[in-house]
Symmetry: C3
Subunit: 392 residues, 3 copies
């Protein structure tokens, strides 16, 4: 009897020790896995940073005598938006504990949207005006994000689906930028032609290619780890689709190929697949990319010049053609693609985004115009020492 | 008695609960780890995409007035091969469940081989001819891959060892490309000199450096996770070896250094280490790199011009010097390096690859010549609007 | 009785099987996690390699007719330092088992420090002299690392805190380089102006941006996985700080903005945050970046020309302004920031680093001057074939 009682006690002790060890090791492993997932998210954050700094930066170098300025403006816009959004986010989050890298990525999204907006007014403001634009933009971007994605005003009955930011990053940035351009562009600047040359075209393609290569990390940045493979392949398929269609349409519509179309409209697939990057099937992703490339190329060919006359405004990079229209198209594509989507909310979210962008883009343009005035658009020499050696 | 029976029952219940929880948690952790490994493979896939688009793209910008075309061709070739291979692979795989990212990487390998082939005919075809070449190439690349790596025709008694693609990616692409060049090159193009300038040389070095930096991810893309550290260090050691030797030989053989050698032959170490990147020791990797650099530089110095006279063909980028000869050398190095290698299979695999590439490269060249004809080689202005402003 | 004994035996067997399986699976998972962490470290190693080759390489292309040479020198310096340090490290490590990727990263740190040093003498030595400099530098870098970070001579009573290398990578490299420049610069070279143009300025910004984007991986390379999120955000905040301050001060002090300041001094935040990247708080990191940017910009504006007259030496890239002063500042910032720091050791470590760098930099300069002599500083044509076509 004593032996059996002893055996039982030994068994129970072993069991408890075993349990505790297992629970402790499990907790340890779960904690390590959580850290590993954070670091994987960090790697996607670095890819996005490459898109912001190198991608957007060099894409905007297509303006042939404005390269130093475009690159410096990129550095400044990111250096304003990133800390501003990140520290605001830390201040105003109501307890909900987000990972640090997730907050960094959300700040990068804000910076991306800002760079899109700045592309519309590129070359027609002074450097310090980009900084002021950056501060204003980030405030209104956060406002729109709060209303549309976190339902801050309670206007939406369901969630707006916008995983890769077709609506709240791309369309918002483009419309904000064009609205700012509307209230910023001075008459003398309407006639000035924005020119590129062989070297600025190649630098521009460098920026375009950096954006193309890392785009899947942008869309999959905050997607759950098991959904990442399908998401990233969707993005590449969409980009392949818009790339092929852009070449075909640019050449067919213009007679010759325009390298500006190749540098810009090829990316429309990435813009449009944003809302549905984790839900679409592979063939649908390819088709979304192709349609987006068609929309974008047609916009560049048909609208870019008409826009100047009609709106009396210049959209330097044609952001409405690459981020505006394809972004809205992408947001609408969620309606057929995503099962169980709340369609009224999706449409209202798009309408709110357009409204906030138009209104506060216009206002911001007026404020930016108050704090400075550029004499010579599209020329480095107005602000950069080293450009004085090459004045015509 | 009753107490002891109860204790036993409680013990057994606890044990079963504990077991189930442990099994469930284990399964959960194993599933998470599998997702994490997939995402790590995705990160290597992004590095490879940077090599394809930025690396190959800008390496080919060395042709001084053909930069826009070289970059656009790169976009188109990848946008054709990637979806074509990926969707074919999904259709024809007999049940064996590969991960999605593994399929993406295999598609990237096909695109890499295609870009190598295109480098041989670079500048002498029109843009739509690159697209046709891309479609044809991908078909024959898949054929060779099926015969040599999956033993589709049952010709091989053992496996062909080619982890990083020295044979089936590099040598295949180069030989296919030269064969296509043989059947494509028109007489008038033989005399035309391919020129670079200070700017196109620096863009070319940009492409070269992108390839150099990310090469370890290319070789280690599908290698098991515990083998990755040794593999990637092998690749860097091989690249350091070929870089040093290339500088020494280029300067010694030519009197001055050729930046074209520096941009191309320095990469030969990466090409050659492919077949043995996971098996070689560190000193062997360094030596393989040095020998490959010597082979490649000698080929650029001694063969590039003779090839033109002898073959009556132009290999614009000298792909036979960088990918052809070093690729074959790398495939042969598996024989001394890999223990237990099936030597007859390895040699037969190399012979098959050369044959398939020669035959179908030639045929493809003929088909590509049927669908178009370029008037002015190596000039953007024939196809790109923006180049009209700079015609001599 | 027999049944109960049997039940007990079955229970104990199940328990033992369960335990063994759990231990085995745990060990398996721990081993997988270790491999995963190694591969994550590998990804940071690739980011660092991009900084070394593309970042430093293109930053040094600002010298307008020396681009091919600057890029080739970068390839050669890395190809010398990397294998030399890596294989030395493997020979001389006394048993302490480091991971392979950790050794690769330590080799990359050595290469980074070498590239900084080379930036001081850039353009004034022949290509083979860079190789000799690389070999000598790596020896003395390893010596300083041994004395300061591993307390090889037992001079330090406590550890020197230098996680991201502000002292032992940046300051060491800069001071070594300036000391070598002191003993290398020949009189005729003092008057020669180092010029850039619009294209070399844009290439230089490309290098600067690559360094900016990947800098967090440099600082967080060997940091424990759970500390990585905080560390990388600190680095980005520091870079945003130095970027904004650099623009403001460059424009204010010079009247116009200098793109050379934007390309270089914006990075000072990354240099300075090195010693405290894992310990500082977010606001402190931002402030450290801003102060570093102020130090660096003031140095570029006020010291760069005076240095030439005073020292009778040319520091081509101004490495003392970007890596020297901000590096020392960063090493000193550990004193207020890091709790429990051994202040005498930190100061002594800095003094030792400065001394070793000055002494052996000078000596190395003398040796390098013995093995070659450049006729024409800052011109590709002296060593590169392709540059002959563009001689003025």
């Amino acid at each position: 009897m004593k032996n059996r009682k002893l055996s039982l006690k030994i068994l129970m002790s072993l069991l408890m020790v075993g349990f505790s060890t297992a629970v402790f090791a499990q907790g340890n492993i779960n904690s390590e896995i959580a850290s590993i997932l954070q670091v994987q998210q960090y790697e996607r954050a670095i890819h996005i940073m490459a898109m912001l700094i190198l991608g957007f930066g060099f894409l905007m170098v297509f303006v042939k005598k404005y390269g130093r300025s475009a690159l410096t403006a990129t550095f400044l816009l990111v250096s304003v938006a990133l800390p501003f959004y990140f520290l605001s986010n830390s201040l105003f989050t109501n307890g909900a504990e987000k990972g640090e890298i997730e907050k960094l990525i959300l700040a990068e999204f804000a910076a991306a949207s800002l760079l899109i907006a700045a592309g519309a007014v590129l070359g027609r403001v002074k450097m310090h005006q980009y900084i002021v634009l950056g501060i204003l933009f980030t405030v209104f971007y956060m406002l729109n994000e709060w209303i549309v994605l976190r339902n801050g005003l309670g206007l939406l009955s369901g969630a707006v689906i916008d995983t890769g930011g077709s609506i709240t990053i791309h369309a918002f940035g483009a419309i904000f930028g064009v609205a700012a351009a509307l209230s910023l562009t001075r008459n003398g600047q309407l006639e000035k032609i924005v020119e590129s040359d062989a070297t600025s075209d190649r630098f521009s393609m460098l920026g375009s290619m950096v954006l193309w290569v890392f785009w899947p990390s942008f869309c999959a940045a905050l997607v759950p780890v098991e959904a990442i493979p399908h998401t990233v392949i969707n993005v590449f398929l969409a980009l392949c689709g818009s790339t092929l269609i852009t070449y075909v349409l640019s050449t067919w519509l213009r007679g010759k190929t325009s390298i500006a179309d190749i540098a810009n409209a090829t990316l429309a697939g990435g813009v449009a697949i944003g809302s549905t990057c984790d839900t679409a099937s592979y063939p649908i992703a390819l088709v979304i990319g192709m349609i987006a490339g068609a929309i974008s190329t047609n916009a560049y060919v048909l609208l870019q010049d008409r826009q100047r006359k009609f709106l009396k405004a210049v959209d330097t990079c044609g952001v409405s053609n690459l981020h505006g229209l394809p972004g809205l198209f992408g947001g609408l594509m969620a309606i057929p693609v995503v099962a169980g989507l709340n369609i009224p909310s999706q449409l209202l979210g798009i309408v709110i985004t357009i409204s906030v962008a138009l209104l506060f883009g216009w206002i911001s343009g007026k404020i930016v115009a108050l704090v400075g005035e550029r004499k010579n658009a599209y020329l480095d020499v107005e602000e950069f020492m080293e450009a004085e050696a090459e004045v015509d």
